[in-house]
Point group: C2
């Protein structure tokens, strides 16, 4: 299945989490806000690039993105959340009728991208083995604020066999545009996380003997900060229901050859 | 000499190009614009990250930067340019009296940072050997526009011995936050450059036998785009008179280990 076919299915009404769709193509988080909130969002992302890697920003009112020419950000995701004054107002499959002419949409990188690299190297990903969503936690590390936006960094955790941790660090570290290297390895207390079995978002994931918890900055961070500051209107993807771009995951590896 | 000592000298009135000052510490380009131009500048940089790597953005009116705690962006550069309606109005050593409360300052990465890495690997840099400024050229590659900002990509060129080009690509490619890998290697016509001996900015630099021209995206790009769009007021550094930060050049290498 190509990204274009996947988007066409979602546009036609299919609703499903996008994990496993169009494998090898980059999926992104969506955050759309009115133009007068866009500078705060963009600056928050600039100041916190590990949790908030911006892959594209639309012009006001546009639903087009350079990440997938011909796609429509208001129709091609399987499911959306609509927010009013920081509260979840509704969850719908199409927001084309709600797309205001001053709306600016941010496509934020997603850890699915480096997971492709980890899997290709044969590093096991327990949440996939167990058919679960990745575990996510609010940490005690504050993001650098920007205008009206502030909040803690959120991380995702993957149990990795101790002998493969260095390799996992190197593979994800070479992809700084999609969260990059882990922010922490080992003791969860180092991030203020009291209990790994009780994630703040996603599902609990069981470690295998010899696994070490490895923590990456998470794309939920900017959405959480934005909602805390209660913009009058916003649209996001529904968790797990991402935008599938035409970009290959490998494009976000640091280039080491002339283009 | 530490970065702090260098900044103190400039604050005290020393005027000099900063090449060779506080070696190993990152120097940055300065662009300060009124708040209502800041989104366009930040978005232009997001859309054109190779020529316009943003390392820090101040809050409106502030002259402080996380790149050098205690520094004052309005006094600690050796020389500034003041722009009114896109025209150079004056060149001064201190802009503290001109720093308006709505001014937002962008610190943009500079190729000095990856030059440190090239020199450390023993790759010769002809412009330094010849005591000249690097050669810079306007190319036929248009940047992706953002709001009122548009313009061509500007590149810097370094003649590199053919046998060291791969290494130069790898070293700079590992520093995507300071222009990253070259955008072009070899024939200048590939970038629409007619005559290497006549750079648009900087000095002509002579190649040694066996050298190949290697082109990197250049931090002059955002300044040129901004001035073309004629904001009512702006402050920049004077060419070659950069801001010296407390960050080590090595910090901008892609991290491959947990922090």
């Amino acid at each position: 299945m190509t990204p274009e076919q996947a988007r066409a299915a979602f546009r036609a009404g299919t609703v499903a989490p996008t994990s496993g769709w169009a494998t090898g193509f980059t999926q992104t988080n969506l955050i759309a806000v009115p133009r007068d909130w866009a500078y705060d969002v963009l600056l928050f992302c600039q100041r916190n690039p590990q949790p908030c890697p911006v892959l594209d920003v639309t012009d006001p009112g546009s639903t087009a993105t350079t990440l997938a020419p011909g796609a429509d950000l208001s129709r091609d995701l399987p499911r959306y959340r609509v927010w009013r004054h920081g509260e979840l107002a509704e969850e719908v499959d199409d927001v084309s009728g709600l797309w205001q002419e001053n709306l600016v949409a941010f496509s934020i990188g997603c850890s699915f991208t480096f997971e492709t690299g980890l899997l290709a190297a044969g590093i096991p990903l327990r949440h996939l083995e167990q058919g679960r969503n990745v575990s996510m936690y609010v940490t005690n590390r504050e993001c650098r604020p920007a205008g009206r936006l502030y909040g803690p960094m959120v991380v995702s955790m993957r149990p990795i066999p101790a002998g493969r941790v260095d390799e996992a660090i190197a593979i994800s570290g070479a992809m700084p545009a999609v969260h990059g290297a882990p922010v922490h390895v080992g003791d969860p207390a180092g991030l203020g996380i009291a209990d790994l079995t009780r994630p703040d978002f996603g599902d609990p994931v069981e470690a295998e003997p010899g696994d070490v918890p490895v923590f990456w900055a998470c794309g939920v961070t900017p959405q959480a900060a934005l909602m805390a500051s209660k913009p009058p209107f916003a649209i996001t993807h529904s968790p797990g229901h991402m935008f599938i771009t035409d970009r290959r995951d490998s494009e976000y590896r640091v280039p080491t050859a002339a283009r």
